[in-house]
């Protein structure tokens, strides 16, 4: 962005005072993340013109792939609002997230009661959609092979399917990118989603995986800092403030958080925005 172009690179460490990071600190924190969670790795810019000179060429941004997302956000909201009435219904298996909203920085009122009544119907529809999720954009009918293309292959692994609904077996998946935002001087999360049929999600579909509170405000679609592509991103304008508050909470409980742990904490806090994406942040850090 233009504003970013004219913002000088932050030189002095100020993360404890204001929650911001210098590019060097971003690299330190990134190295630590890669070390502790090797599913993350550093990545390069897509072409030389996008290399940002204040970061090492081979450490332009961080990426992790194939993070599962089993249900849409509204389904999670559905669990919550109906919890007392439908205790016996096994609507959702993953309850872990709901219980984790400690810390005071997660809005809990996004469990909107109004949406409850129409949800059952919507869920049913969605499953049907999933089942015939192969509607072809181009006419490929004459390509469908009913055998003959290959010999039978007894050694091909096929997952045992004892679950009737498609959604459980075939989650959406996400690639997460963490870039450095020079203007806000904080890490910035970008998301690339894939549907149950391994196709890239449209931006609108991606919105289904953001908590309602954030979908229209905190999530924007912007050009990636290192790639020639627009992607949904968690807008970083509040990041420094949030990180500062979390660092203070830590300090109050007598723990000192090093700058290298910044990204582990950052991932825990962005989880509030993307609650259904099952990034295993618990392994990364305990609050």
């Amino acid at each position: 962005s233009v504003a970013e172009k004219f913002t000088p690179v932050l030189k002095e460490s100020k993360f404890r005072e204001t929650g911001v990071l210098t590019p060097e600190e971003f690299v330190t924190a990134g190295d630590n993340l890669v070390h502790h969670c090797p599913t993350w790795s550093w990545a390069r810019a897509s072409d030389p013109s996008r290399v940002r000179s204040f970061l090492p060429e081979n450490k332009q941004y961080l990426i992790t792939r194939n993070v599962p997302c089993h249900k849409r956000c509204r389904q999670m909201e559905y669990d919550q609002s109906q919890e007392k009435i439908l205790t016996s219904m096994e609507v959702g298996a993953e309850e872990g997230f709901a219980g984790d909203e400690d810390g005071g920085w997660v809005d809990t009122h996004h469990y909107n009661q109004e949406t409850g009544s129409s949800q059952a119907l919507e869920l049913g529809q969605e499953m049907n959609e999933d089942d015939d999720g192969e509607e072809e954009a181009l006419d490929l009918d004459d390509l469908v092979e009913s055998g003959g293309l290959e010999d039978p292959d007894p050694n091909r692994f096929v997952a045992a399917s004892n679950k009737p609904t498609s959604e459980v077996e075939r989650p959406r998946t996400y690639d997460l990118h963490i870039c450095y935002d020079k203007y806000y001087q904080v890490p910035r999360l970008y998301l690339v989603g894939y549907d149950e049929n391994r196709r890239p999600l449209s931006v609108e579909q991606t919105y289904e995986d953001f908590s309602a509170d954030h979908a229209n405000k905190t999530i924007t679609v912007e050009s990636h800092t290192s790639l020639d592509c627009d992607m949904p991103t968690v807008h970083p304008c509040k990041h420094a403030e949030m990180m500062k508050r979390l660092l203070d909470q830590y300090a109050e409980s007598g723990k000192e958080l090093g700058v290298h742990e910044y990204l582990l904490l950052f991932l825990k806090f962005v989880q509030a925005v993307i609650p259904t994406i099952e990034y295993d942040y618990t392994r990364a850090i305990q609050l």
Partner: protein, 288 residues
């Protein structure tokens, strides 16, 4: 237990298609000759029942230690894409791999065993794409059986893999070494092969192991068993013992399988519509 192998599944992100758009418009134009392409894999996946292959902006340029080399065939018309004789194509790929096995090339360049093909048609006006990958696997040796044991400490193996970038290597005693040193061992119980395995399914090996077993059984016709360690980053590592029925090495390439199946298990191409991401008109509408 008869052996099973976890097949590949291709994930193309928008940056990959964006790169295809640019190259097709500015560089390749109507040129349909196959291009080199690199597909990323990860040994940290624990999700799903396929070995995930990622195609991104990097696939048309750089390659890393965690990628396989293949070939991109991008056709100018949907007709050409549809008309492809995929039965003949997979036989040709199979022969290429079989030649690497017979000549011993695989011992020096093991990635020749993991060669893949990505066929596609890109409609650059409507931003619709059709594609179909083939990960050829030679169905050989016959009657593969398999047993596995948990491996206690894979750390030294992971260290070796990451420091050398080798995707297949050997382990003898406590020391790791290059695959080409396989010739130093006369008996299959003196040595284990270690493969960086993209399979997310615990105790089941990934697709690339198939061609490796084919290669070993041809290279050592006197062996009918091999120890193979499936190296994973996030889950338990297993040491597998594969055994097979010894037969005389066929002169011609045996049966080959590997056209990718969709999530319903059907042999069918994928199609994707990225007009909401790429179409300038639609982007204008969105931003209003």
């Amino acid at each position: 237990m008869p052996a099973a192998f976890v097949p590949f599944a291709t994930f193309c992100d928008t940056t990959f298609w964006n790169e295809v758009n640019k190259k097709k418009l500015n560089e390749w134009m109507l040129d349909e000759t196959p291009k080199d392409i690199y597909a990323g894999f990860s040994i940290y996946d624990t999700v799903g029942a396929e070995c995930r292959i990622s195609l991104s902006y990097e696939s048309l340029g750089e390659h890393s230690s965690s990628s396989y080399k293949g070939q991109l065939s991008l056709w100018n018309t949907l007709e050409a894409f549809k008309k492809l004789d995929r039965t003949s194509m997979i036989k040709i790929y199979g022969r290429k791999i079989w030649n690497s096995i017979k000549s011993g090339e695989w011992l020096n360049d093991v990635r020749t065993l993991f060669y893949f093909s990505f066929t596609a048609f890109a409609d650059l006006k409507k931003f619709k794409y059709v594609y179909w990958s083939c990960y050829p696997a030679i169905c050989y040796p016959p009657d593969i059986e398999h047993n596995s044991l948990v491996l206690d400490d894979p750390k030294p193996l992971l260290d070796y893999h990451f420091s050398t970038g080798e995707v297949v290597f050997i382990l003898a005693g406590d020391s790791c070494g290059k695959l080409s040193r396989l010739s130093e061992f006369s008996s299959s119980d003196q040595v284990s092969l270690v493969i960086a395995d993209p399979s997310p399914v615990e105790s089941t090996c990934g697709w690339p192991v198939r061609n490796l077993l084919a290669a070993i059984s041809v290279y050592r016709p006197d062996w009918s068993t091999v120890q193979l360690i499936s190296l994973r980053g996030s889950s338990k590592c297993f040491s597998h013992i594969f055994s097979w029925r010894q037969v005389e090495t066929p002169a011609e390439c045996p049966a080959v399988v590997g056209w990718e199946r969709n999530v319903q298990g059907k042999l069918q191409p994928y199609s994707v519509d990225l007009s909401t991401q790429f179409d300038p008109k639609k982007l204008m509408e969105q931003s209003v």
